[in-house]
């Protein structure tokens, strides 16, 4: 052996028990579904389990259960007690964190390193953070006697299944709402494990209901008249459909939608950390990240150096088995997503951008896409405009700071952006100019429950995290028609 070949270091999957079939979690119990669909391991297409396909009746029962729990129990419970339930949930999630991590990687395809070190700890942190809010709501910023909204219908995506669940459920419960949550079609397993956590925590029945299913299940939830609040994370297209659907109603909504984040590199950037940030920005979670730094906008004078270092760094990315502790880039979540990435990258080539990927052997079974960078990209290219939601970076260049900002803002999205420079005043200037809800300066893809997350423009409505996210689940005592 001349090269340092890391032998496979597989996380054991024996820690998880996957049932052959799952029902919905309604009113504190698992109930059988009428129809089922398979959920697979995207890294090898193994069928992991059969998931219940929720219909209008399931949603109806779940909403009814949540309504009863809201009226009779949860909204009446002192915040102090609600908080203790959230603490319990957080603790049990921590205790079972390895189980969650393995299950997440199996069902989603993300590397165990990320589910273990990022998704699960952050999900726990969200419950801890919001547990502390439950008895302090009068300080959240909506007046001295804030009230919960009622029953929240929450629809989450497949890219961070448990973490998005935590982002949704923790603030809703802390504020005194009850929830009906629909996990993404391809990634229901950790939500169903979370249901077990709710049971272990003895959370009152109906406070959390989980109905699995596909887009139709989600629509039924959005359209249900018993819902007071919609919280959705997913595509901008679906977000707009939800906005239309609830237009005639009194339902409130927070929407966390797509993005096409610019990652701006100035010539005085700390080069190695910047290259690392670029890699983290676009290859974290296979690029299945709404805030991914998918457009690298680099000062022309350093573009060659940055791109050449980036390529060297990309060749070190370890693509493979998500359960291998040394894997950096796991599987694409679904065949559907893979074909979307494939089609968009093809358009990049067709439109004349230069495509490059490091040599890397991709597994034969499962859904895989090599880390890819396109150079010679201009704003007019589809790959510079459309969200690819995969490990594909487009590189554009700029000459002046103003030009960088113009290009960065030249998108209907406005979720996040990155800025790299060692000059403090320039960082603040750029941060101020960028039309995006989250600015990562000399870092990228950092998340924290205390930090509001959410976008400008077509990246959505509202924020999640911090007091700003919490208030999306509260109304002031006076609030009636105000602030529809």
């Amino acid at each position: 052996m001349t090269d340092f070949d890391y032998a496979p270091a597989l996380e054991s999957r024996s820690i998880v028990t996957i049932e052959s079939e799952y029902g919905h979690f309604i009113n504190g119990e698992f109930v059988k579904g009428a129809n089922h669909f398979p959920t697979i391991n995207p890294s090898n297409e193994e069928v992991l389990s059969q998931i219940a396909l929720g219909g209008a009746q399931d949603i109806d029962r779940a909403v009814a259960s949540s309504r009863v729990a809201f009226e009779s129990t949860w909204s009446k419970m002192p915040g102090k007690e609600r908080g203790k339930y959230l603490y319990r949930i957080a603790r049990i999630m921590q205790e079972r964190s390895r189980e969650f991590a393995v299950l997440e990687s199996l069902d989603n395809g993300k590397p165990i390193r990320e589910s273990r070190d990022i998704d699960i700890p952050l999900a726990c942190a969200h419950f801890f953070y919001h547990a502390g809010w439950a008895d302090k709501l009068e300080f959240a910023g909506v007046g001295s006697s804030p009230r919960p909204l009622g029953v929240a219908g929450q629809i989450i995506p497949w890219n961070f299944p448990l973490l998005m669940l935590a982002w949704k459920i923790a603030p809703a419960l802390a504020a005194g709402n009850t929830v009906v949550l629909k996990p993404a079609e391809t990634t229901s397993l950790t939500a169903l494990l979370f249901a077990q956590v709710c049971q272990q925590a003895e959370l009152p029945a109906g406070v959390v209901n989980i109905v699995t299913g596909d887009g139709r299940t989600g629509s039924a939830l959005v359209d249900h008249p018993g819902i007071d609040k919609i919280a959705f994370t997913g595509s901008t297209q679906v977000g707009k459909a939800i906005a239309r659907a609830i237009a005639p109603t009194k339902k409130k909504a927070t929407l966390e939608l797509g993005g096409k984040a610019a990652n701006i590199v100035f010539d005085d950037a700390p080069v190695d950390e910047c290259v690392e940030g670029i890699v983290n920005g676009i290859f974290f979670n296979q690029g299945h990240v709404c805030c991914a730094g998918s457009r690298l906008i680099v000062q022309e004078s350093v573009a060659e150096e940055i791109v050449s270092k980036l390529k060297v760094r990309m060749s070190k990315i370890r693509v493979g088995d998500p359960l291998d502790k040394n894997t950096d880039l796991g599987a694409i979540n679904s065949a559907e997503q893979l074909s979307k990435i494939t089609a968009l990258t093809k358009s990049g080539e067709d439109e004349g951008a230069m495509r490059w990927s490091p040599e890397c052997a991709l597994p034969k079974k499962g859904f895989w896409f090599a880390p890819t960078v396109f150079t010679g990209v201009t704003q007019a290219h589809r790959i510079a405009q459309e969200e690819i939601f995969g490990p594909v970076l487009s590189v554009l260049t700029f000459r002046t700071p103003q030009e960088a900002i113009e290009k960065a803002n030249n998108t209907p999205y406005g979720l996040s952006a990155g800025v790299w420079s060692e000059k403090g005043s320039r960082i603040h200037w750029a941060s101020q100019q960028l039309k995006a809800g989250v600015i990562w300066a000399n870092t990228f893809n950092k998340f924290d429950p205390t930090s509001p997350f959410g976008g400008y423009k077509e990246s959505g409505w509202g924020r999640e995290g911090g007091s700003h996210g919490l208030t999306a689940y509260l109304k002031s005592a006076e609030e009636g028609g105000n602030n529809e």
């Binding site: 906005a243 239309r244 237009a247 989250v438 300066a441 870092t443 950092k446 105000n482």
Partner: protein, 281 residues
């Protein structure tokens, strides 16, 4: 007694600091509360709206860069200008609404006070709703409210002056620019207010005023892809769902308000921006 013939005012639009007629050449008749003719203000078209949005977008960029102190001073200056012309506005309101001059003057004074109230908010918003967030790691993380960009407003039919002030002041105080559709029934105080704005150091294009038909223009406000937010307080309830559906196309932030004087009116048209930066040596 003089039998002098009065020189009457032509009520036009207010776009980019100028007073153009509608590009459509249209006007409509506005009458006093007894049905007597008062004026022929412009019946703005969707193209007038389109032109105003372009101008508002440019104006927003520099207006947002103005210091909060400066924006507050300018709003306060607007209040000063209004105060000085209280009688003129009172007589317009009195004619339109059929209330006594004394009552109308009350509304003018309330409007002045409302402007002063909003002016004072300019340099307090960040402290009120901004935050430094204690993230778990070596990062400085702060959230601040920022203006959204270009915001549309459909002013209420009630209180032709005060309702109009409530539509514009909270939107512009944070650094947005606004295109406001004045009360359809009683647009004259709004158009006279344009004269106040024109003499009060507010940069051209920050506040643009249209007069015309609500049912005709509200859908164009809602569907315009370069309008970021929309105050539909003046839109009748049965039309709101359609407006929201149209506004969903660019996920416009659409709000209506019961209270005229509320920080929610400002904050609803701001975005929270959160910045992360490492703390190291």
């Amino acid at each position: 007694m003089s039998d002098r013939i009065e020189v009457k005012k032509t009520y036009k639009l207010f776009i980019g600091g100028a007073f153009p007629r509608s590009e459509s050449g249209r006007t409509y008749e506005v009458n006093d509360h007894k049905g007597g003719f008062l004026a022929n203000p412009a019946l703005a078209s969707r193209k007038d709206l389109r032109d105003a949005v372009v101008i508002a977008r440019t104006a927003h960029i520099s207006w947002a860069k103005a210091t909060a102190y400066n924006r507050g001073q300018i709003l306060y200056r607007i209040a000063e200008m209004l105060e000085g012309r209280a009688d003129q506005f009172a007589s317009e309101i009195s004619a339109l609404d059929g209330i006594s001059i004394k009552e109308a003057l009350k509304e003018v004074h309330l409007s002045v006070d409302r402007l002063v109230w909003y002016a004072g908010w300019s340099d307090k918003l960040s402290a009120l709703v901004g935050a430094t967030n204690p993230v778990s790691g070596p990062y400085f993380n702060f959230s601040i409210p920022e203006p959204m960009g270009v915001v549309g407003a459909i002013a209420t039919e009630k209180n032709s002056l005060l309702g109009f002030i409530d539509a514009i002041a909270p939107i512009i105080v944070s650094g947005n620019s606004v295109i406001v559709l004045a009360s359809e029934r009683a647009p004259l105080p709004a158009m006279s207010f344009a004269e106040v704005l024109a003499t009060s150091d507010l940069p051209p294009g920050v506040c643009n005023i249209l007069t015309g038909s609500k049912s005709e223009l509200a859908p164009w406000f809602a569907s315009h892809m370069d309008i970021d937010g929309l105050d539909i307080t003046g839109v009748e309830h049965d039309l709101r769902a359609d407006v929201k559906v149209a506004g969903a196309e660019n996920l416009k932030r659409i709000h209506s308000f019961a209270d005229g004087q509320s920080p929610a009116r400002i904050l609803s048209f701001m975005e929270i921006k959160t910045t992360w930066h490492p703390i190291g040596v």
